[in-house]
């Protein structure tokens, strides 16, 4: 299956299955499936009115988080975005605590204080999603600073979108990281839209990656619907960072299937059905499964088992979340300060 569509033809596609063994492919697959299942269930729960607040869902972009985070260890730190569930899941966050947080329950990652946009797990290097566009980038630079300060060999990675590449924090963070030569990887998930505004209407460049040149930082563009391609591009950036060669920028061209917020847009469509269908025809999970099967590296039944296990995991986690108590209002002002 070859990529179609105007955006996809612009990508520098790396070799797909070549060089990756079954375990690595299944790892990528499992990360993507876990994201897809989690987000699909979250969207369903939201539409049924079970979840308070709003959700920015990651469905469609799974290859980016899976490919990028397959290159990190738990010691490496990431900062995420308002669309952060995918990064958390791919970094290894558990469904139970994630769903409990979406339900606003005490067993959630933030004990009901943060919600969807603040899921974090310090034990696996997840320094938090973020409700402010671009705000995670300087924080990741700080985490990279701390890693080098301590000389512990870890690095930092920060995710941001094409829209965030227009905000000052991106430019300041990129320049700062380059000037200080810090071990950080900037991963731009270019899904073509800053909320509801198409890329062509919010920047004059085709590639966010071109912006890296302004800060003397290497960059590359990859196919964000191909987890293997993302993995390989990020691997190069991560290796540079670990080697003390400073920051890099990886731009992954991808697409979100759902609306900016929630599942289906309620207002005037800003994307054509044709465009959506073209990207869905290159679905990252289907792409990986088809290639692996064609190359005979992974048996299709293995993939089916991943789906099955993941769905069971989601059912368990949702039940857990529903059963978790609501937070006690008496604890409201707890944890404002560290005593």
């Amino acid at each position: 299956m070859e990529p179609v569509g105007a955006v996809a033809t612009r990508t520098d596609r790396a070799p797909s299955v070549e060089g990756l063994d079954a375990a690595s492919l299944l790892d990528l697959h499992r990360r993507m499936v876990r994201i897809r299942v989690f987000e699909t269930e979250a969207g369903r729960l939201m539409e049924s009115g079970d979840l308070p607040g709003f959700l920015h869902l990651y469905v469609g972009q799974e290859a980016v988080a899976a490919g990028a985070l397959a290159t990190l260890t738990d010691a490496d730190q990431i900062t995420s975005t308002h669309r952060g569930h995918g990064h958390a899941v791919a970094k290894g966050a558990g469904f139970r605590k994630m769903f409990a947080e979406l339900f606003g329950r005490v067993d959630g990652y933030c004990h009901g204080r943060g919600g969807s946009m603040h899921i974090n797990d310090l034990s696996i290097g997840m320094l938090g999603a973020n409700g402010i566009v671009g705000a995670g980038l300087p924080i990741a630079v700080g985490a990279a600073f701390a890693a080098r300060y301590r000389g512990d060999g870890s690095i930092a990675m920060t995710f941001f979108g094409d829209g965030a590449s227009n905000i000052g924090a991106f430019h300041e963070a990129a320049n700062m990281a380059a000037v200080l030569q810090l071990p950080v990887v900037f991963v731009c998930e270019n899904n073509g839209y800053a909320e509801f505004t198409a890329q062509a209407r919010h920047m004059r460049l085709d590639d966010v990656a071109d912006r890296a040149a302004a800060y003397g930082m290497p960059s590359e563009v990859c196919d964000g619907m191909d987890a293997v391609a993302v993995r390989q591009a990020c691997r190069r950036a991560v290796d540079r960072a670990r080697a003390g060669e400073g920051p890099s920028l990886v731009e992954a061209k991808t697409y979100r299937y759902y609306d900016h917020q929630g599942v289906k847009g309620l207002r005037k469509p800003y994307r054509t059905q044709e465009e959506i269908d073209a990207w869905k025809a290159r679905d990252a999970i289907e792409l990986l499964e088809a290639r692996a099967a064609a190359d005979g590296v992974v048996d299709a039944a293995e993939f089916a088992r991943v789906w099955e296990e993941t769905r069971a995991d989601a059912v368990d986690a949702i039940a857990f979340a529903r059963a978790s108590p609501l937070p006690d209002p008496a604890t409201l002002t707890r944890d404002v300060y560290t005593d």
Partner: protein, 328 residues
Amino acid sequence: MAVRELTYVKAYTEALHQLMGADDDVFVVGEDVAGYGGVFHMYDGLLAAYGERRMIDTPISETAIVGLGVGAAARGLRPVVDIMFMDFLAVCLDQLVNQAAKMKFMFGGEVRVPMVLTVAAGAGLSAGAQHSQSLEAWLAHTPGLKVAMPSSAHDVKGLMVTAVRDDNPVVMMLNKKLLGAKGAVPEELYEVPFGQAAVLREGTDVTVVALGRMVVEATAAAGTLAAEGISVEVVDPRTVQPLDTATIAESARRTHRVVVVHEAVTFGGLGAEIAAQVTDAAFDHLDAPVLRVGAPFAPVPFSPALENAYLPDRTRIAEACRQITKRS
């Protein structure tokens, strides 16, 4: 150990020097903090002592500077972030207010952000509207932040030690006009606890609660008023978040009259908060409404003729005290 006379700015430098010597996790980051030693010479000598690993010069990028501090603090370091003028907070407020301040709470209590943000505040130097503000009210209004306003060399050092050792983001508001003011400073490391006001002068007729440099002015006014037979108690909260309401209210219960003084504009300033707290805690002990002495509702002007009229001083404080104690 000995107590010497040090300037306000040197007391700050000495605190940092000793803190960095004691704890490798402490580092300084900001514009011109290393090679130049800080635009107010706050960091003189620290580069030579601790090297470029711990003294970090940065581009003019306040958002990235503060963000670097937040990320490093979340990873367990103890950054001292300098952004020069307090006015520049406006260009990096997101990192301070939306990230540093809220991170612990949003994350469900898991993270600590032991960061100190040093800013130079205050007017009186014809520095104009963008280099003279006292914005403590913005910060004290934000849950998760602590705000220190030292009024003397002694308190600069002690509050800085407490700030660096604190596990929360702390904004240290140094007053530009006090940088050269000398005071007795012990050599050893000592802490001035947060949330503990200092009663700098005892009095019986009126309590003056003063912030930052206004403490100096209030003390001078108290001397003048003493000669007139008005006994003024001067209270320096030292930190406005946390705020030592108990000491202020206790004083109010004794003097029955309270004047609050700060450089910031009166409207919505700490004076309003302190007045409300005093009313809550000591209403039945008040003989007069709490008076506020602050700046008019205008940006800080440039011309000395205007700025002198703008800034509260000992004369205005004394007049407020006369007014509040006046009886027919």
